[in-house]
């Protein structure tokens, strides 16, 4: 049962990563590329993390995995904001 959950979750996560990468390569400008990247990466990484949870030691392994995801969420959100602001600022000029 947990194996099935892991397989489904990790495969879905990989699918999101794939979609994000395709979006990054195919979308026309920086803001849409950011949109593709952040949505897909956050969800993709989250799903892969959920898939790996049953295979790590309780409680510290689980805590570490969740922490990695939360840290990535925070930094990728902040960095996309910075990139987005930069792009908007340049457009106004």
């Amino acid at each position: 049962m947990t194996a099935l959950l892991s397989i489904v979750s990790i495969s879905l996560g990989c699918l999101f990563f794939l979609a994000g990468s395709v979006g990054l390569l195919r979308f026309p400008d920086t803001l849409t590329r950011l949109h593709a990247l952040t949505k897909a990466d956050n969800l993709g990484l989250g799903l892969i993390m959920v898939g790996l949870l049953p295979h790590v030691a309780w409680p510290f392994g689980v805590f570490k995995l969740v922490l990695v995801w939360v840290l990535v969420l925070i930094s990728s959100a902040a960095v996309s904001q910075l990139v987005g602001r930069r792009v908007r600022g340049e457009r106004k000029e």
């Binding site: 930094s75 902040a78 904001q81």
Partner: protein, 311 residues
């Protein structure tokens, strides 16, 4: 063909492709970003080779800190359009790299099967250090002098960076601050990430005794947090004449030397640890080294002093 081999070949191909992009690319900023990606993929390669310590160091230093240094250099050179090196220089570099690669390939292909190993013999005496991680034990026992000299080299590089300061700025703070806008997302990131990042850094150093990690990886993470703090404007880089800064910069080497000379008292040789206290002494050295490494790396990225003390 098994899955592991296919993955290995793909990974090696990706590393080679990224390396070629970094060398052949024309855009300075894009190749720097490529270099960071190259470092991360390379650390994945080290993980595949079951060398997590090397992978951590590569990711933290080879990719993270070096990437930050290169980005800072990129920013300073943004108005500089120096002409690229001539064909003669490129030819020499190509020949030298080719010879080195050929020699490495020859060595790897001619390894006897099974490869000779001294691992068993080397591991036996390391048990007395009380460390669970053989990499840390080797660095602190067999290679203690090298580990100390690495810190000296790191400090020398900082001296070289500081010596680039103009005379009127000497003693001042590094003029580090290319965040165009203070506040906003960067401030949020600094406030959330710095406390947890410092804890992660200390954890990495502490766990290095028994698991992959150690002073370099932990120090690099802590230095990254310091750089984020400078960048977001929540703290300022200290003035290079500050005594407490200089104290932190040298404390790793000082503790190492003191312990080294004390070795004459205990076992009449330089850098030998008394059997009963090997682990506590090593932990003390590592704490001092982590502090020194973190401070040195952060000040390296912050660059030479650019503002004078008295303005």
């Amino acid at each position: 063909m098994n899955a592991e081999l296919i993955f290995g070949v793909l990974l090696a191909g990706l590393i080679l492709a990224l390396a070629s992009y970094v060398i052949l690319g024309r855009n300075r900023f894009a190749t720097t970003v490529g270099f960071v990606a190259y470092g991360l993929v390379l650390s994945l390669g080290w993980m595949v080779l079951a060398a997590p310590d090397v992978a951590l160091t590569e990711a933290a230093l080879g990719s993270g800190v070096t990437g930050a240094l290169l980005l800072a250099a990129c920013h300073k050179l943004r108005n500089d359009h120096a002409r690229p090196s001539g064909p003669f220089l490129k030819l020499i570099a190509m020949i030298l790299c080719g010879v080195l690669t050929a020699a490495l390939i020859a060595v790897v292909l001619n390894l006897p099967e099974p490869p000779p190993s001294l691992a068993e013999t080397a591991m036996e005496p390391l048990k007395s250090t009380g460390l669970g991680n053989p990499v840390t034990a080797t660095l602190m026992a067999y290679r203690a002098l090298d580990t100390m000299l690495e810190k000296v080299v790191l400090l020398l590089s900082l001296v070289a960076v500081w010596s680039l300061a103009p005379d009127r700025c000497w003693g001042g703070r590094p003029a580090f601050g290319y965040a165009a806008e203070r506040g906003g997302p960067l401030l949020f990131l600094a406030r959330v990430l710095i406390p947890s990042g410092v804890v992660v850094g200390i954890y990495l150093f502490w766990v290095g005794a028994d698991a992959p990690g150690g002073a370099f990886a932990g120090g690099a993470v802590i230095s990254a947090m310091a750089i984020l703090g400078f960048w977001a404007g929540v703290s300022q880089p200290p003035a290079v004449s500050s005594l407490s800064l200089r104290g932190i910069l040298v404390i790793g080497i000082v503790v190492f030397l003191v312990v080294g000379y004390c070795g004459y008292l205990w076992n009449s040789s330089f850098l030998s640890y008394p059997e009963a206290f090997a682990k506590p002494i090593i932990v003390v050295i590592e704490v001092a080294m982590t502090a020194s490494i973190a401070a040195t790396l952060a000040m390296l990225v912050a660059g030479p002093p650019g503002t004078s003390l008295r303005r």
